[in-house]
Amino acid sequence: MKQHLSRRQFLSLTSKSALAPVAGRFLVPASLATSGALSSASSLLAQEATIELWWGSGFLDIEDYFNANVIDPFEAANPGVDLEFSWDVDEELERKIPIAMQAGAGPDIFMGNGPSHIQAVAREGWLVELDEYAEQYGWEEKFQTWALDTCRVNGKLYCLPNSVNQTCLFYNASLFQDMGWAVPTTRAEIETVAQEAADRGIIPFAGGTSDCPLCVNWLVSIAFNHYAGPDAVHEALTGARSFSDSLFVEATELLNSWMQQGWIAGGAAQFFATTFSTVHDQLVKREAAMSMEGTWFIPWVSSLFAETDDDWNWVPNPSLREEVQYPVIPLGSGNTLSITTQSENADIAADFLNSYYPDTATIGQRIADHSSFFIAPVNFQEGDFPAELDGRVSKFFDLLADGNLGYSPWSFWPARTHSYLYEEVQKVFTGDLSPADYCAGMAAVFDEELAAGAVPPVFGRG
């Protein structure tokens, strides 16, 4: 609560100072969003502007909530400013940004697809440096440091992290209880559970990529981060260790051995052809024991179990090699928010961004209301999460604080290496490519991109 109060004081201070007729960069952060602050700041940005925002598909099912909590308050606080939202499927958005920017038709703000995307876009000079705004609005204190660091290119800030995610292990907790299985934290433990499940005709790991072929990268992420380990991945991403290293080969071999035993989805062919709906229904109906997916599915899994007698839970995946300290949390940046250099109202855009991340208690409430849309990596304080928030959602943030942080491929691999990672691993599963050749191939593509300076920034160890 202390944090909350001081922020309000800060707000009223800046509001007063901005009553002086200053323009541009010193315009006031009008709607730092707690409703009490709105009225005092309302008249300060009385200029006509349309802010065009290209948004990912995340908020579509809660459009009313989004309007009421994000758009309306800002527009009310800034008469004359019109927020024009345009949503898109995330993949389409990533494709459209470079085309639009080169044509000079870019938006004011857009939702980026993680650091590796931002890296490519920022290097073209299409993004506004946010460092001054960060200072002005106190973003350094608000966001978790590692998260903000993923938004830096050559030391300069180009985006704000909008949501983070991690791969994790979902399991049918009731099934585990009935079977007397302990939640696995080591390779030996998870292989024991998997073997016992398989012996009973239960699929150890439900899985499928029919809806999203590139989501096979989740499995590679798990193998690399939990077997080779975050230290090895960090070394590889900074060029100190080759992707052809035996650790990555062994990781791929382990993953492939699970696939070939039929532990994942019953086998490679089923894995490629199964839909997400089926994966989760198998978990609910005890046809499968676990599934290696990610925290993005928490709301869906939760809703499917809601009307059954069974219970569910999730944990970080076990560490698959003794030297890898448990728990490893492979971080992924779900998406980021950036201002483009084609914005004629960068100050207003920055002000909107700031209002989009209100005080941490309000963010905590939003997560409780709709855990699917706003997993912002801010520095939460004790008591920010309301009591009604499911512990399985807030656990995510606790783990961030304590875990051995790892690196998700979709955020930290450069584009071509990432494409190689999910295209070619399918050939490992179909027996057309050996794990050693797979890793050697990845090393070759990565080395080219490293030499070309295309590797996104990687947060350090320790």
Binding site: E52, W54, G56, S57, G58, L60, D61, E63, E84, F85, S86, W87, D88, V89, D90, E92, K96, I99, A100, Q102, A103, G104, A105, P107, D211, C212, C215, F276, S277, T278, H280, D281, V284, K285, W296, F297, W300, S303, L304, E307, G334, S372
Partner: protein
């Protein structure tokens, strides 16, 4: 259509066999065509949980509310209007452009017409991802992005070649006496086209119009690349309104799909007889 006529009532047994021979495969084909569509229809009436648990079964209690939610969340009020504008503009323009061109190719002796026909075949099948990036740059220069009219012009370019080929083969099948008579009476080519060819060839235009309407109504790639404003997006974009990062509200997507297809099916129902008649008269020729 012809065989049954001459076969007398005396050979009833033959008739029955023939009827079975015709209707059994017809029904099998109908099941093939309709089965998956029924799955879609059923799913549009289920709850999300039902779809997950039993994706191919009948709905427990029909959820008509899905349609209302899909209509609202998919912003169909504006996307239907935009798609109607796009379709009308596209059909009108394509009919004019391809009508003029087909007249030249089918009725006038034009040097190089064979080359033009080849060119049209190539243009018909050019894959959009091949040229979309430069096209976007050009459209930005011309101030044509994020505008329905800019998109309509793209549809003219993309859909006219096939329409021209269709209309040309239709015109080739028309007798030439009337227009020759017209020319002898001193009518210019435009008069010949408007007062003689056009009245004769409207069935061909029904075909071209329907195919163009279908192509425009279901078009996604260009629409999603060139339109950014929410208020200008067409119906195909509505179908994507229920996606989350890795999941989808399939009950709403299904309901939205049914909503989106109703106008097209209705259009086909209204015009199908003329559509067939138009195709019949023209046939398709390379």
């Amino acid at each position: 259509m012809t065989a049954g006529v001459n076969v007398g009532t005396a050979r009833r047994k033959w008739n029955l066999r023939r009827t079975l021979l015709v209707y059994v495969p017809l029904v099998i084909l109908a099941i093939v065509a309709l089965g998956p569509v029924l799955v879609l229809l059923f799913n549009s009436l289920k709850t999300g949980r039902e779809i997950v648990q039993d994706p191919l079964g009948l709905p427990d209690a029909p959820q008509l509310a899905n349609y209302a939610r899909a209509w609202r969340q998919g912003h169909f009020e504006s996307t239907m209007r935009n798609s109607a504008i796009l379709t009308a503009g596209s059909v009108l323009g394509v009919c004019i452009i391809s009508g003029l061109a087909a007249y030249a190719l089918g009725r006038l002796r034009v040097r190089g017409s064979r080359g033009v026909v080849t060119y049209l075949f190539l243009a018909t099948t050019a894959p959009a991802p091949l040229y979309v990036i430069p096209l976007f740059f050009m459209w930005t220069r011309l101030g044509q992005i994020n505008s329905l009219s800019g998109l309509i012009i793209i549809y003219w370019g993309v859909l006219s070649p096939f329409a021209t080929l269709l209309l040309r083969s239709f015109l080739l099948s028309l007798p030439t006496e009337l227009e020759d008579a017209g020319r002898v009476d001193g009518a210019g080519e435009i008069r010949v086209l408007l007062s003689i060819i056009l009245p004769l060839s409207w069935p061909g235009f029904v075909v071209v119009g329907l195919i163009t309407a279908l192509g425009t109504w279901n078009e996604f790639f260009f629409a999603n690349t060139f339109i950014h404003s929410q208020r200008l997006k067409p119906v195909t974009i509505s179908l994507l309104s229920f996606q989350h990062q890795f999941s989808n509200d399939w009950e709403l997507t299904s309901a939205a799909s049914v909503i989106a297809v109703v106008p097209v099916v209705a259009l086909f129902l209204v015009f199908q007889r003329r559509f067939i008649a138009g195709m019949t008269a023209g046939g398709l020729k390379g």
